[in-house]
């Protein structure tokens, strides 16, 4: 079973782990993700592959503690083993040289944008990154992202770190300031991706969003991850997770994501009781 080789707390709620997974490390491409389980009664949870080291056979995952599974994952120590790790999953990102790419990460999404930043930059794009969340969530990840980006903008809801406001405010200013942009890539809470897609749509500024529908098998077998894109039903786990933001039906996505709200809380309470931690 895949062993935890390294663990690092990046911020209050964000943890980085490296896991031994030679086959995944060998074949993974930007935009792809893994599914893991933390116990033999656990849920199958999707997480982006943040980095790979094919030579060492290692895969890096950066996750935010939001619920039952990620809380248990956060208690695991170096040397512990995951019960399952499947990947690389999803369609690889279409990384091309376009000029300037604006990468936007919000909330949980900040943990997911690192591979995109690196990949777009590696083929010669200028990468302007915008991240937004609570200040404490950013403290350490900020340095990593800053290092990889040509330009970094930070904005927080309460102004406790960087500017006060939303990531979309910065994007709007850049558009008003006629900053040349060839592609926008956004990951984060659905409302954020929706707002950004709505801003860029009238300008015909191509916008890729990485969607996070509920997943189960993540191999194209159950259809729980279905999203409507351009009027067609697509499976997020095999056709995605990246889609053209101008074509995504965000209302449908938001609705489907709320299916298990009550149960997620219940699972979290259950796990916290077992772990003896406070929610």
């Amino acid at each position: 079973m895949p062993k935890l080789l390294h663990k690092e707390k990046l911020a209050d709620n964000i943890t980085l782990i490296k896991v031994a997974a030679p086959r995944i490390a060998k074949n993974a491409q930007p935009g792809q993700f893994v599914v893991l389980r933390v116990s033999d009664k656990g849920e199958r949870v999707p997480l982006t592959i943040a980095e790979t080291d094919p030579a060492k056979g290692e895969v890096t995952i950066i996750f935010q503690k939001v619920g039952a599974t990620t809380k248990v994952l956060d208690t695991m120590k170096v040397g512990d083993e995951l019960v399952n790790l499947l990947g690389p999953l999803g369609a690889p990102a279409h990384i091309k040289k376009l000029g300037t790419v604006v990468v936007i990460g919000g909330g949980v999404g900040i943990a997911e944008i690192l591979p995109a930043i690196k990949a777009y930059r590696a083929v010669g794009n200028k990468v302007i990154t915008i991240i937004g969340a609570r200040c404490t969530d950013l403290l350490i990840l900020k340095d990593k992202i800053e290092k990889e980006s040509d330009e970094l903008h930070i904005i927080t809801d309460d102004g406790s770190c960087g500017r006060k406001g939303f990531v979309s405010d910065i994007l709007k200013e850049m558009i008003e300031g006629n900053v040349k942009m060839d592609l926008v890539f956004a990951v984060g809470p659905v409302p954020m991706m929706e707002v950004i897609s709505n801003i860029t749509k009238p300008l015909n500024l191509k916008t890729i969003v990485s969607l996070n529908p509920i997943m189960l098998d993540a191999t194209g077998m159950c259809g729980v991850c279905r999203v409507i894109v351009g009027g067609h039903t697509k499976f997020g786990c095999v056709d995605g997770p990246e889609f053209d933001g101008h074509l995504v039906d965000f209302v449908d996505l938001k609705n489907r994501l709320s299916t298990y709200k009550t149960e997620e809380k219940q699972a979290e309470e259950h796990v916290c009781k077992i772990l003896g931690v406070k929610i």
Partner: protein, 466 residues
């Protein structure tokens, strides 16, 4: 014995009782019943029954052992041809296969071959008197490597046959449990997972190296398998792609594909939430669309999860229902309602995005279609609404497209089935396929037959001069 082939002589739990849990419904025949039934077999010199079995079990021989009271010998005889007898004895559509052609069926009741098969396999497992470990042949250290993809009945059978031929077999499975549909699809009350586990263990004991969490096409490509020294590859990835109705409202909360629902219930054990961490939500009024085995399973699981009313909605009549008659009867006994000659046209939601109503259109039967069944024709203006809060879509699955997408050298039919020649070889030399990936949603035993044929062909292919 009666003359009705569909009469169930096997004892089973009372409907009121069994719908309260996921424990097995059919209890198996007694030793006396088994011996009496076995003695009815006239031991045909040219047994038709064997022709009706896709894996060609020596049916008269195993039945004779039961008649003589040698139950272990019967089990051993079964395992010569069928690595999964306890499973086939439970889920094989016997009435359409071996039993259909049994000579005694011409004038009276055919031998209940499936019941006897289950009896012998269960005897061996529960009495533990038999030779538990199979003839594990000593494998030479340099045995050629063979790759089998997918651990459903097709893959399990192919792997066990190859192992018996002395190959070093790796069996790759993408899910976290082996068994394919046997694990994630068919519910506990029809096929206890402990039996699947033990039968898989048996196959591992033949020397098969089972590797879970490997999605071939993504984790490792077919080409990489050959690069790693595998001599031949069998693809048994199944028909896992769910079909949807394509009606408005199908994405509302409360609409499941049968696959999603059954995976949550069977594979993830959602009925034990939150101890098991994957939830499954069931409403009060459930509509299951379709009338195959999958639909019956979904309906009966819904009942066991606590739904008040479960209705099967099917666009043809009872005669055309593809599910096993036995399972349809059990569903009825358990209180499942059947609304026939009806097809959903739209799903409506409440203000929170949950399913609230379904609109149906009434049908009548017209001319036979390509499948020979009479085609349902909508009756214009017959739309009406029914109140439901959960809808499970069980209108079929198509072959899993992931591997052909990952390796476009694999040619497929328009509907997704992998194209193979009469030896089971795909358009890539050395890559074979069978089971639902080739046939579309079919049966456990046909998948096993394919796995077996492929193993023979793979053996020949590896040893042929190239």
């Amino acid at each position: 014995m009666t003359d009705d082939i569909n009469k169930r002589i096997m004892p089973e739990r009372e409907a009121d009782n069994r719908i309260k849990d996921f424990e097995e419904v059919a209890l198996g025949i007694s030793t006396e019943q088994a011996v009496a039934e076995a003695k009815r077999c006239i031991q045909c010199k040219k047994p038709f029954c064997v022709k009706g079995c896709p894996v060609e079990i020596d049916i008269p021989a195993f039945i004779l052992e039961i008649a003589k009271g040698n139950f272990d010998a019967a089990a051993k005889k079964l395992k010569e041809k069928n690595a999964l007898p306890a499973i086939c004895g439970r889920v094989c559509p016997q009435e359409d296969q071996c039993e259909k052609v049994c000579i005694l069926g011409k004038k009276g009741t055919p031998i209940r071959i499936g019941y006897l098969e289950r009896f012998a396999a269960d005897w061996e497992r529960t009495q533990k008197t038999g030779d538990q470990r199979p003839e594990t042949r000593d494998r030479p250290p340099d045995a050629p490597k063979m790759a089998v993809v997918g651990s459903g009945p097709a893959g399990l059978t192919c792997a066990s046959e190859l192992a018996r031929k002395g190959y070093a077999v790796s069996l790759f499975e993408s899910l976290h449990l082996p068994g394919g549909v046997l694990s994630y699809g068919i519910p506990e009350f029809r096929l206890p997972k402990e039996i699947v586990r033990l039968e898989v263990e048996y196959i591992q004991s033949l020397g098969v190296d089972l590797q879970l969490d490997v999605l071939v096409g993504k984790t490792i490509t077919i080409q990489q398998l050959f690069d790693e020294g595998y001599k031949s590859v069998f693809l048994g990835a199944g028909a896992g792609l769910p079909r949807f109705m394509r009606v408005p409202g199908e994405n509302l909360k409360g609409v499941y594909s049968a696959n999603e629902f059954l995976v949550r219930v069977n594979l993830m054990k959602g009925y034990k939430f939150p101890e098991y961490m994957t939830p499954v939500k069931i409403g009060k009024k459930v509509a299951v669309i379709g009338a195959g085995n999958v639909a019956m399973d979904a309906a009966r699981c819904s009942l066991r999860l606590g739904a008040d009313e479960v209705t099967i909605v099917y666009r043809r009549t009872e005669k055309e229902m593809p599910a096993r008659i036995e399972e349809i009867e059990r569903a009825k006994e358990e209180g499942i309602k059947f609304v026939l000659l009806n097809a959903p046209t739209e799903v409506f939601g409440d203000e929170n995005g949950w399913v609230k109503e379904m609109e149906c259109l009434k049908m009548e039967l017209g001319e036979p279609d390509s499948s020979g069944r009479r085609r349902p024709v909508p009756i214009e203006g017959s739309e009406y609404k029914i109140q439901v809060d959960t809808i499970i879509v069980a209108i079929g699955q198509t072959p899993n497209p992931l591997i052909p997408h990952a390796d476009p050298r694999i040619k497929t039919e328009k509907w997704g089935g992998v194209i193979v020649d009469d030896k089971g070889m795909s358009s890539i030399p050395g890559v074979f396929s069978g089971g639902d990936l080739v046939r579309g949603a079919a049966t456990v035993i046909s998948a096993m037959g394919d796995g077996k044929q492929a193993a023979i062909a793979m053996d020949a292919w590896v040893n042929s001069p190239k």
